[in-house]
């Protein structure tokens, strides 16, 4: 039987003795693990949004305090959809010019457009501008958001769109020439109303054939019926107006932030927002929240380690006679110390593993109950970190008192009144 086995036997045959210690470490590790999983997953989800929509700029009509007051209860404003305020189509060319100018200036500043010998100028494809017009009406007696789009441009800008059923027209010409009476429907709306591809819906007296059902995107698009923008302008009597313009920049790492600043500065009546910036703010918020919670959890762990230290010290002093006996039968100081270190290594390892599993459970619960909405991802490094933390807490707590106790003389261990 080796010293390691001796240590493990002590743990296995006296499991209740170390319950408090295990519990404290499990809580500490679980807190850190769950916090780490939730924050990392939330940040990854945001980063995915950034990577997906990072080069997209959205231009909306500006909503001042007064115009916000002008929006009646009949109109609706959400973070994504604005009703009752419009951008005149005649200023779109001006918006496009400002955008192009800002992108070019941004690239020149980065050196992207500076001609180098033998390389020449980098070509930038022109951006795609996709207009939308939002309107509220009813469909079979139920309210519905009808969004007028240019199918070709919309499909190009929202490249993450996919169809759950039905089919896109296979060639660009066909998409461009989508019939005036063709429509697509958001996934949630389709399910709620029982409308599928191939069905015909009648909106304000005009029949539309549903060509396809969009897969859910966790955005307002899931609740909309998409029809050609000219049909929507006629339907809502908004010829020459759009509710929103989405721009997909066609260059890698396009300086869309520069374009956003330029548009907001030069064009009155509109407000441009970069998805990158929105996601960035969310990202910063999560990081701030994570750092705050990390500080709280670290303080908790510090207190827990102190408690563990006290528990372990008490538990070790109760084993003074055992230490004396081991030394008397030939154990060196180092060997006695190893017994306690092995014991606490095993305890820390077990606590770390249990804490890791509990932490995953806590992360799932936190994500659901706090409605964080992140797609949870468990990094494999997290397991190693949990084990390391558990072992560190446990071994650190035992090291100093064990070192001190192994120095005690054999004769003193039997003279004292400590009981095993």
């Amino acid at each position: 039987m080796k010293i390691l086995v001796l240590s493990l036997l002590d743990l296995v045959r006296r499991p209740r003795k170390n319950l408090m210690l295990v519990l404290a470490i499990v809580i500490a590790v679980a807190l850190l693990t769950s916090l780490s999983i939730v924050s990392t997953s939330a940040n990854t989800t945001i980063l995915e949004v950034i990577s997906k929509t990072g080069h997209t700029l959205t231009v909306r009509p500006v909503i001042t305090e007064r115009s916000a007051d002008d929006i009646t209860s009949d109109t609706l404003t959400t973070s994504e959809v604005v009703f009752g305020k419009y951008i005149p189509e005649h200023i779109i060319p001006e918006i496009e010019r400002s955008y192009d100018k800002a992108i070019k200036a941004g690239w020149e500043r980065k050196g992207g457009l500076v001609a180098r010998p033998g390389i020449g100028e980098i070509n930038i494809e022109p951006p795609t501008w996709a207009p939308r017009l939002y309107g509220k009406t009813s469909l079979d007696g139920n309210p519905v958001i009808v969004t007028g789009v240019d199918f070709y441009k919309e499909y190009f800008v929202r490249f993450w769109w996919d169809l759950a059923s039905g089919e896109w027209p296979t060639d660009a010409t066909r998409i461009r020439q989508a019939g005036e009476n063709e429509a697509f429907i958001g996934g949630v709306l389709s399910q709620a109303r029982g409308i599928g591809a191939g069905d015909t819906v009648t909106v304000n007296g005009t029949p539309f054939k549903v060509m396809g059902v969009l897969q859910e995107t966790n955005s307002a698009d899931d609740y909309m019926l998409f029809i050609p923008i000219r049909a929507a302008q006629r339907m809502f009597d908004k010829a020459g107006y759009v509710s929103l313009l989405s721009v997909r920049a066609m260059c890698p790492n396009c300086p869309v932030g520069d374009a956003m600043v330029e548009l907001n500065k030069t064009i009155t009546g509109i407000t441009a927002t970069s998805q990158l910036d929105i996601a960035g703010v969310q990202f910063e918020f999560f990081n701030m929240l994570y750092n705050f919670l990390l500080a709280v959890v670290t303080a908790t762990i510090f207190v827990a380690v102190l408690s563990i230290f006290n528990v372990v010290t008490g538990s070790l002093y109760a084993r003074t006679r055992e230490i004396g006996l081991l030394k008397a039968i030939g154990a060196s100081r180092c060997q006695v110390l190893r017994i306690f270190l092995y014991e606490h290594f095993a305890l820390g390892f077990t606590s770390g593993a249990v804490g890791y599993l509990v932490g995953i459970g806590m992360a799932i619960v936190l994500n659901a109950f706090l409605d964080i909405g992140a797609i949870l991802r468990v990094d494999s490094h997290l397991l190693w970190r949990a084990l390391a933390l558990g072992i560190l807490c446990s071994v650190l707590a035992v090291f100093v008192p064990a070192l001190k106790l192994t120095r005690i003389k054999i004769t003193e261990t039997f003279r004292t009144q400590w009981e095993t």
């Binding site: 039987m1 006996l325 039968i329 060196s332 054999i410």
Partner: protein
């Protein structure tokens, strides 16, 4: 008169031990000189506080004297480094304490073989378990080999301590009040086992006791009073107990 030319196994010369406490110095033992031969059973008797345990600790190198020399087989052991002392104790000494219970998580056989978790004699590899079982059986615990300490009586626990002391084949066994918590039957068993071991295996055993009846079984009885050796008697000074 014929002088004994045999060199003593263990020798103490003018040994004293002074404890320095916050309240002042306390002399536990002083001016003790004695010699013990191989195969001798020695009893230390005296009232509480007379210095029995201190003397045992010094003989067994568990403590160092403040003054004087302690020699085993002619080699001074009171001046050895702590590291050498650990090795020395493993090879030469075994201890039986009054209240040194076996480790609770180990069974009788595991407790007997416990010393070999920390060192292994090279010449006995592979035979240790058989030897442990044999020793346990010789002490009447053959039916308790795999029992845990909480399933044993006080007398059986002390036999486990004896088994553990014997397994390392020491030269000297030191036992501090080994019969203190036992009934008469078990007390007799323990001391007579000691006597048999000294006779049959040539072990030197030194034990302390308050019990003069048990001390009488020893070859020599050393009487301590206030830290000094006041009388040395042959074991037959006391009536030989009957079983």
């Amino acid at each position: 008169m014929q002088a004994t030319m045999e060199k003593p196994l263990l020798e103490l010369r003018d040994v004293a031990k002074v404890f320095r406490l916050a309240s002042g110095e306390v002399t536990a033992i002083e001016n003790i000189s004695l010699a013990m031969n191989a195969g001798e059973l020695v009893a230390l008797v005296g009232p509480s506080g007379s210095g029995k345990t201190t003397l045992l600790n010094i003989i067994g190198s568990l403590d160092r004297p403040t003054h004087g020399d302690v020699c085993l087989q002619g080699e001074r052991i009171d001046t050895l480094s702590e590291e050498r002392l650990v090795r020395f104790r493993r090879e030469k000494f075994s201890y039986i304490f009054q209240d040194a219970r076996p480790l609770r998580m180990l069974n009788v056989l595991e407790n007997t073989l416990l010393p070999f978790n920390f060192f292994k004699p090279a010449d006995r590899n592979g035979k240790l378990k058989e030897e442990g079982i044999e020793i346990i059986r010789s002490l009447g615990l053959g039916h308790r080999l795999y029992h845990m300490p909480n399933q044993l009586s006080g007398g059986e626990i002390q036999r486990v301590a004896i088994a553990r002391a014997l397994i390392t084949r020491p030269l000297v066994i030191l036992a501090d009040e080994p019969t203190a918590n036992l009934d008469r039957e078990n007390r007799l068993f323990v001391i007579q086992t000691f006597r048999n071991l000294t006779r049959e295996k040539g072990l030197t055993i030194v034990f302390s006791t308050h019990d003069l009846e048990m001390a009488g079984i020893a070859d020599r009885v050393l009487h301590l009073q206030d830290g000094t050796l006041v009388k040395v008697e042959d074991g037959d000074c006391c009536p030989c107990p009957s079983n």
